[in-house]
């Protein structure tokens, strides 16, 4: 295994998934053997805490700390849920993890289950990931056959089941309590918190929810140790990160790199820079629900603190690049259409405000912008701030809008003044 790319280094370049044998040859399930063979659940949690692994789904919550929230005396059954509802626009990293190395996810889920005393795991995948679904299902079946799942795993006395659930499609399913409702066969509206899922989650039982990429890191941490994992990183956050870039760069793609690699290195070295004749105008560093950054921010390290220090969020770590021949207002209009459509309709600032903003932006693109529109947009974005809604959808929608109003204000004003989109 290339030591510096634990998540992707073993993946085959021909697109075929690693089967059980190939996964084991690369050290797969050694972490599980080590944990079940002599580590207490508390020791597994400590190791993950020490590794400084933070959640890769967007919020960046420390994984070991999250696991420690399940109280020792919590009732059973307890659940572990892998969040593979990768629907954040511009995000395509979990797809390769489930398609090319599905056992990594299975082993990560079993380890999370062992650490939290869970009985059942659900691998929740978005329904559109048909190839990934087939491969995860096969990996689960292989793991049962090899004795890594089911009753008395590796004669340790620990038992754990994993079921695959394919979503019927809605961005809200990525929100953790929305996801729990979806698994219960309900509309994926968010739940009021507290209670938080460790106290009352799936079917009212203690539940731990982690992103797919987060869970895929765990087997490597247990196998190789927290110190090794921290050493992979260039920053305080441990490990590597699967970064990505889409938009008009020369080589859009995904790269597993040390956490803390700079935005400039990702865009210029790995993505090959902008296509000929185009300049970088801005970027969303970690999916649709992150604030725009611009050319002056390229030396920021892509870790949780680094991106925050320049006014955005690491999010999913897959950046969307805006070039100088693409209309920033059109881009924001596209983003707010997405958020408005995917709002579940639960909270007023979200269902009402997002549609309002979407209509203003579309009108602007169609040459029907009016003086005062920018103030209305800014007013709406303030209403979507955290604390006004049950979940993070509206706050996420505010981020690209509020930052676009700051960085691309002149472009918005031109749309209104000239009564047209100058890019059309």
């Amino acid at each position: 295994m290339p030591d510096d790319k634990p998540l992707t280094g073993n993946m085959r370049s021909d697109g075929v998934a690693l089967d059980l044998k190939a996964y084991e040859r690369a050290g797969g399930y050694e972490g599980l053997r080590k944990a079940l063979g002599g580590m207490t659940p508390a020791a597994v949690i400590e190791e993950v805490k020490d590794s400084n692994l933070r959640g890769r789904g967007g919020a960046g919550f420390p994984t070991g700390l999250k696991w420690s929230f399940i109280p020792d005396k919590a009732p059973h059954p307890r659940y572990v849920v892998a969040n593979g509802d990768e629907m954040e626009p511009g995000t395509f990293k979990d797809r390769i993890l489930v398609e090319l190395d599905p056992h990594q996810l299975v082993e990560g889920m079993i380890l999370a289950g062992y650490a939290t005393g869970a009985d059942i795991g659900y691998a929740f995948l978005r329904g559109e990931y048909t190839v990934g679904a087939e491969r995860v299902a096969r990996a689960i079946a292989e793991a049962y056959e090899a004795g890594y799942l089911g009753k008395d795993i590796l004669h340790s006395g620990y038992s754990f089941e994993i079921y695959l659930h394919l979503s019927a499609g809605r961005y809200m399913c990525g929100e953790e309590t929305g996801l729990l409702n979806a698994l219960e066969g309900k509309r994926a509206n968010p739940r009021a918190k507290p209670p938080f899922p460790p106290a009352s989650g799936l079917f009212g039982k203690p539940t731990t929810i982690n992103n797919v990429e987060t869970l895929c890191n765990v087997p490597h941490i247990i196998r190789n140790g927290a110190g090794w994992y921290r050493g992979l990183s260039r920053s305080k956050d441990g490990g590597t990160k699967i970064y990505g870039a889409s938009g008009k760069v020369k080589r859009p793609g995904l790269w597993e790199l040390p956490m803390g690699t700079t935005i400039r290195e990702i865009i210029e070295e790995h993505a090959g820079g902008m296509r000929d004749g185009l300049q970088l105008r801005g970027l969303l560093p970690g999916g649709a629900s992150t604030d725009f950054l611009t050319g002056e921010h390229l030396d920021a390290p892509m870790d949780f603190a680094g991106v925050q220090s320049v006014g955005s969020r690491l999010g999913t770590g897959t950046m969307i690049i805006l070039d100088d021949k693409t209309c920033p207002v059109g881009m924001v209009s596209n983003l707010e259409h997405f958020f408005s459509q995917e709002s579940c309709g639960w909270c007023t600032p979200c269902w009402s405000g997002l549609g309002w903003a979407e209509r203003i932006l579309r009108a602007m693109e169609e040459g029907r912008g009016k003086p005062g529109d920018l103030e209305k947009l800014a007013f709406q974005a303030r209403f979507w701030a955290p604390g006004h809604t049950f979940c993070a959808l509206a706050p996420g929608a505010a981020e690209p809008l509020q930052s676009a109003l700051k960085h691309f204000r002149a472009d918005f004003e031109r749309h209104i003044d000239e009564k047209r989109c100058p890019w059309k």
């Binding site: 511009g90 395509f92 559109e128 659930h165 961005y171 889409s246 649709a288 969307i320 881009m331 997405f338």
Partner: protein
């Protein structure tokens, strides 16, 4: 009535959840796979097995993008309309499909062959523009490529 095949597939999901209601999304996906879409009758059939009212099922079905309460064509084209595809010219691909098939987004061709639906990001953004046709993902779309792909589905 559910067919024996539909019933068997739905019942295979029962052991994965602590109650039958939780199976309803899987059940609706299974029935839709066989019937193409979820009619009122389909919801009645599912409701009977799961002990749910068809109103409850309708509330769930209408929430999810991939559950259809209206008939669709033999093949469904899911064209991404999210941001990375938009930057890479997704609108032009949509216009090409609409022109070729003679339908607007959301409509079904007169011969019942295709339904075109806009969907959110399909998670293959390094190969934008992207669409799915039924279960298959198609990447790096151009008008020529779209023509070739659509030929494969009768």
């Amino acid at each position: 009535m559910l067919t024996p095949e539909e019933r068997t597939e739905i019942e295979a999901e029962f052991p994965h959840y602590p109650n039958r209601k939780a199976v309803c999304i899987d059940a609706m996906k299974i029935v839709q796979k066989h019937r193409g879409w979820l009619s009122d009758e389909a919801l009645d059939d599912i409701g009977e097995l799961l002990g749910m009212s068809s109103t409850d099922l309708d509330g769930v079905a209408t929430f999810y993008n991939l559950l259809f309460r209206r008939p669709v064509g033999r093949h469904v084209i899911y064209l991404c309309d999210s941001v990375s595809c938009w930057i890479m010219g997704g609108d032009q691909q949509r216009n090409h499909i609409c022109k070729r098939l003679g339908i607007a987004s959301g409509e079904t061709t007169a011969d019942g062959r295709f339904t075109l639906l806009p969907v959110v990001c399909l998670g293959a953004c390094d190969h934008a523009p992207v669409m799915m046709v039924d279960q298959d993902t198609h990447r790096d779309l151009t008008p020529e490529k779209i023509d070739q792909i659509l030929e494969q589905y009768d």
